[in-house]
Symmetry: C2
Subunit: 430 residues, 2 copies
């Protein structure tokens, strides 16, 4: 077999077989196929796509060893979100689902582009280690019911190398490549089931609804072919999730929900995704809803959260201390008229948060965990002139200025009350 023949075959729009895909992916991962051939291959995939079967083989070829969680008795289920602004669902959902006796072995990522990253959020808790070894991870999982760590060397090693190449060759935005990257990591976790939260709207990576749906379907197809029960939800990202954007800020809001607070859209999506996870683990759906609501009220979920933090080396009480959210500057952006909040430029709100220091502009940038943005209104809310819209938490005047410039153009007020945006558009199963 020759790399050039595989490139040409894909370039000409033909379907590759299992052997050809393995030959290319493992060949590249193990250094037999040079990067200049693999990047041409990636670009051919960008243009010609891959069907579900090819995407499945691509995913499988990218996986290393699967985590062996067989000594932990019980169902293991994970969730993955394609990323959005203010999307702190994992922080709440993992302990909540664990509180119902289903294990959540979660391998998460960092801030990317305009979105935050679960690992960065967790690290706003001093001492929280996201780099547990696999045996430490399994231990936390066994003892607590869930654990959230970063990608290790063992998990989908080819993905790291391929992602680095995609990143510099303009081949990131390809559905089969996105699917195989996500699914090779998730399916390596040794899980029984997976729930996917695919975001669509002006703050999502896949803004276009049909593209997002295509992505969701492909991930479900790959998961099911692998023998992992998989459900995808298509959910709204035309406004940030919840009201807090930033690292410590999102941890704080998560703890509110875990403490029984009803933050409307955030809690709703957490419950829906969690219920689906329990359902895939064998629960009756009505029992699932009941148990989830109960465990948010009775402190069980919060208790698991605190244990997770403790087992990872952090102090859960730090969240309640005065200085957990304290920044040098607090600045408000107000409404310039009466009406209803009708529109957010969610992407730019994410960018503003990133510019404040909550994300990274360059890979080597250090994150400022305390900065961020609080929304005082959400879409559909009545607004009176001079009402606060955004609260900016900053530590640097320069950065604040940049954020203000963006944020003051990132919302619209209309006279007529707009419809509340739908939160969950569609549930995709096969």
């Amino acid at each position: 077999m020759r790399a050039i023949d595989c490139i040409r075959k894909k370039r000409d729009g033909n379907k590759l077989n299992k052997e050809e895909i393995e030959f290319m992916v493992k060949g590249f991962a193990e250094g037999r196929i040079p990067d200049y051939q693999f990047s041409a291959f990636l670009m051919a995939i960008y243009f010609k796509g891959m069907d579900y079967e090819e995407t499945f083989y691509m995913t499988k070829a990218m996986m290393g060893k699967i985590l062996d969680l067989s000594d932990i008795e019980g169902k293991k289920v994970d969730k993955h979100s394609t990323g959005g602004v203010g999307d702190k669902v994992s922080l709440i959902l993992a302990p909540l689902v664990a509180s119902c006796g289903v294990y959540v072995p979660m391998v998460s990522g960092r801030a990317l582009g305009h979105t935050g990253g679960t690992l960065d959020k967790l690290e706003s808790i001093k001492g929280y280690r996201t780099d547990l070894t696999i045996s430490e991870f399994k231990n936390v999982l066994k003892e607590v019911g869930c654990s959230i760590i970063g990608q290790t060397e063992e998990i989908a090693p080819a993905d790291k190398k391929i992602y680095a190449l995609r990143d510099v060759t303009a081949t990131v935005e390809s559905i089969p490549l996105i699917v195989s990257s996500i699914m090779s990591k998730k399916l390596s976790e040794g899980i029984d089931a997976l729930v996917l939260d695919v975001k669509t709207g002006n703050g999502a990576f896949m803004r276009n609804y049909n593209k997002a749906k295509e992505l969701a379907k492909a991930m479900v197809e790959v998961g099911e072919r692998f023998g992992v029960k998989t459900t995808a939800f298509l959910t709204d990202m035309n406004q940030p999730l919840g009201c807090y954007i930033g690292n410590a800020l999102e941890v704080w809001e998560s703890v509110q929900v875990l403490s029984g607070e009803n933050i409307e859209d955030l809690k709703k999506i957490v419950i829906e995704l969690s219920a689906e996870m329990l359902s895939l683990a064998g629960w009756k759906i009505d029992d699932a809803y009941e148990e989830l609501e109960k465990n948010l009220k009775n402190g069980k979920a919060l208790n698991i959260w605190e244990k997770v933090v403790k087992f990872h080396g952090g102090d859960p009480k730090i969240v309640y201390k005065d200085d957990f959210l304290k920044t040098n500057i607090v600045h408000y952006i107000h409404s310039y008229e009466d009406g209803y909040l009708s529109y957010f430029d969610t992407f730019n709100i994410g960018i503003a948060s990133c510019l404040l220091g909550a994300g990274r502009e360059k890979k080597e940038d250090k994150i400022d965990h305390k900065v961020g943005i609080i929304l005082h209104k959400k879409i559909g809310d009545k607004v009176t002139k001079n009402d606060k819209i955004f609260e900016i938490r900053a530590n640097n005047e320069e950065k604040l200025k940049k954020a203000i410039n963006i944020l003051k153009k990132s919302f619209k007020i209309e006279k007529n009350k707009p419809l509340k945006p739908k939160l969950i558009y569609e549930k995709i199963k096969i």
Copy 2:
């Protein structure tokens, strides 16, 4: 400027400007842009194409120094063929045009795929050096009127590097990339005008007529933008040109034409291309035809040919010696019925010649200059059962067997007399 932005721009089907194209090509040629980015760029060009302006800037960016032929007074005109089977036109045309007082500074190539290469053909003359230095080349040109050499380090240095990358990334078959590769070399010769022979049909690289026409048009556009008068001919490659295929065999047939022999299609195409070259150099077309015919008859063209060979280190008399064409084996393939020769699989005839040893299967293969194929019939010829169709000249029984297997399936006999194929389809100028 960043390479990834240029890749993405082309990937999304947008037009690149001069600066972006120069940034990419010179960046790659000079080692600032890594091959893995350039190969993704090439694949994006493969899919999204380039317009004439982009192709022109691509061509210019690939050129090194242009040969300075200003101390040779008179017009300098070259010809390029996209390659076919039995295409020995350069060997005849260069001395013929030179015999009319127009200089032909010709930089040629080697056998590629199923086609022969001018340099390999010339090297069947013992001692002929295709690797003259630029100053030797200029000297032969001045003294004799024409010289045929191979690509040097100085001529279009980026082309070599880009071609090597295209060759292993399945990005050879792209019109703007073919155009810039050919034209960057040809326009570096310091010529006033250029005639292009673009082959189409079952023995051409561009089998499809419309694709070949697209290629021809793009080359003319690029040449004219560069200030070099350029004409392209679309010519037939549904059968080999002339009757001899191989290296020494083609030299021998060329010398026949240069000696006044009328080998129908071969002589016709030589005259048409040569007349256009003279016309672009300022000649009246009728004078051109007259002078060309005259110089084939009166020995002037042959005399220049012999001088070229001598100046390049070869002995022109070698062609007439008994062993110039001598091989160990001569084998015939005969007609199995009466009728008319109606079809050649020209590509496979080229492959058969290559397998006999006239071309290279792998880059490191050595060429056997004497082997090849002689056609005893051409399309439209009356054939009686047991008439010779192919004469195979071989030096190895194994290779002969492979060639026989291919050749016996590479022609068709029909009861009805077919139309003679057209030799020249179209002349393209702007």
